[in-house]
Symmetry: C4
């Protein structure tokens, strides 16, 4: 029961975040291509963040699937993750409307870094609750993907000031890396 | 469990999309009929898109009902469909505020075409996961309704530049064609 | 399964409608009572519509509880009800921002009338699906409350042009009449 | 069934409230730190309200967990709580945009006070429905935390006019006090 509500609440928040981002695609006043053209950076940043939130939803999904019971620490670790994800629409719009300028791109990376860190905390909280025979621990191990993502986000932030496209390229690369749902957990579920 | 969350997440996203569209019905400043009159095109495009999203929700519903288990490909095919649906409020508002002008009407058709294509991909992903005895495959067969819709949308896009009402008429016609929930699947469920 | 998704989708839409109305409470620029004062009509119309949507959620809840299986007609009758409810935030804001002027008050009543009518259609669709031993039919009978509400809304619309407070008084009266959840159905469930 | 829908609806409303607050973080026009700086008070008030809504969700969660059946009074007591919570985004934005000025800070406390009171009414309604062997009553007892919160909010309102930071400090203190999910109920569930 508790787990069901945690999942439902998280699904609700992520579903809302993924859809309110589209409100930043402001309806242009003209009815020709010139009116539509300035929307491309906003649309691009929307696509990137849609994929990131999709990844978080997918992985959150797998994570909870392997967790058996929920305690207060897990509830708050989950809300902490949702907090950082809730800032995604804001940084997405800021980055998009400023045509991927250096500072918004760096701040976008900062939010991804903190969301990634919050996800890792949630993972550890679930593993701690399961004790030493944790199925989740066995499935994710040292979680090199999480470690690699963290290092990549952390390097993207200063690199945004060298050139923003380096940072944006890193965000696209990390998204592709996670695009494939966590096969380790999937294998564990099937096995 | 997995299927339940996929349905719940999709329901959440579609429920939000169907309701945030109404935010484009900007509250007029006056309190007389003159203040309300300019809203008719926006209201008409809202009604059309409400019906389309209702159709997608209904059919998605039937589709998932016949699917047995969910894999990573289905998860992403579903998110891909939700992405195109998430652009519906934007193109609805753009078309409505420009009184169904040619380009917004064509772009509206483009989003419907891509959403229809994404739905077809999702259908194929579920059938592929079910293998050769797929209940869904048996129920939908070649899915002539999906094929016909695709051809109609694809023809509506250039026809919008001949006259927008031709394209809008096609959208209304396709909506009516789908209005009746997929009886083939309903029959299969009952049978 | 089908019924669960129908309930979940309806709950989602009503939950979103009840909360996006609050977005019309525009944050004032000043920080004193003078800045807050102009919000009272908007807040009053929000409270009234919050109660109406709460009533619809409660009664929808009881209605579905007594329905056994869902068909295509019920799905669309439900979407039809949700369509009229989706216009509630718009008419609420329009009425509130114009200090309950005659026309917005009459249009508000029109939306309530059509929502009430859509609810009645949904009720009949469920009863028709249940056949002659319908538990819902036995519970609601001729549904005098629905009939009375319809007559009251219908009379409120012209009376808004005599004086808006007559119409607003009728809306408050109907809300109070429904405030108590449908005891007939509750009794039926318990019995 | 009834309880499930009540939980789902409440989760939906709280999930939407927690995310629409972020829409008040208006995307700045510049792309430098100067553009971001004015957002700090809005962001701070967002963090505080995010935590409060998280606390309400957590405690609501525990509360419903111990409730066995739902009646009309509980449904309306729950909607009454959701009404006050629905005003949180408004008062959060008003307080944040006015840099925690005295009146908005006091009004924020007023909404917290009324939400706290509504929570207490809901708790009593559930206990009343359970009768004299109420598990919830045994778990929460006199609920000193609720009483203390009420007294603290009530004192924060006048103190906001002495100095707003006293009131803001009280809000942070109460949040910390509730941060730990209700161990009494958790113990009862486990026991």
């Amino acid at each position: 029961m508790t787990k069901t509500r945690l999942e439902a609440f998280s699904d609700g928040v992520i579903a809302i975040l993924i859809t309110i981002m589209v409100l930043e695609l402001k309806v242009p006043h003209g009815d020709d291509w010139d009116a539509l053209a300035p929307l491309w950076p906003v649309l691009s940043s929307y696509v990137l963040s849609f994929i990131y939130l999709g990844i978080y939803w997918n992985n959150h999904h797998h994570l909870l699937h392997l967790s058996s019971h929920i305690n207060g620490t897990i509830l708050w670790a989950n809300l902490h993750l949702l907090f950082w994800l809730s800032l995604v629409p804001f940084v997405t719009a800021w980055m998009g409307e400023n045509h991927f300028a250096a500072l918004p791109t760096a701040v976008y990376g900062g939010v991804l870094l903190l969301a990634g860190f919050a996800y890792w905390i949630l993972e550890r909280a679930i593993i701690a609750a399961q004790g030493k025979d944790s199925k989740l621990d066995a499935a994710v191990g040292k979680d090199w993907k999480a470690v690699a993502s963290t290092l990549l986000y952390a390097s993207a932030i200063p690199l945004a000031f060298v050139h923003q496209w380096i940072a944006d390229g890193i965000y696209v690369f990390v998204a592709m890396m996670w695009f494939i749902p966590d096969r380790r957990i999937e294998a564990k579920i099937a096995g």
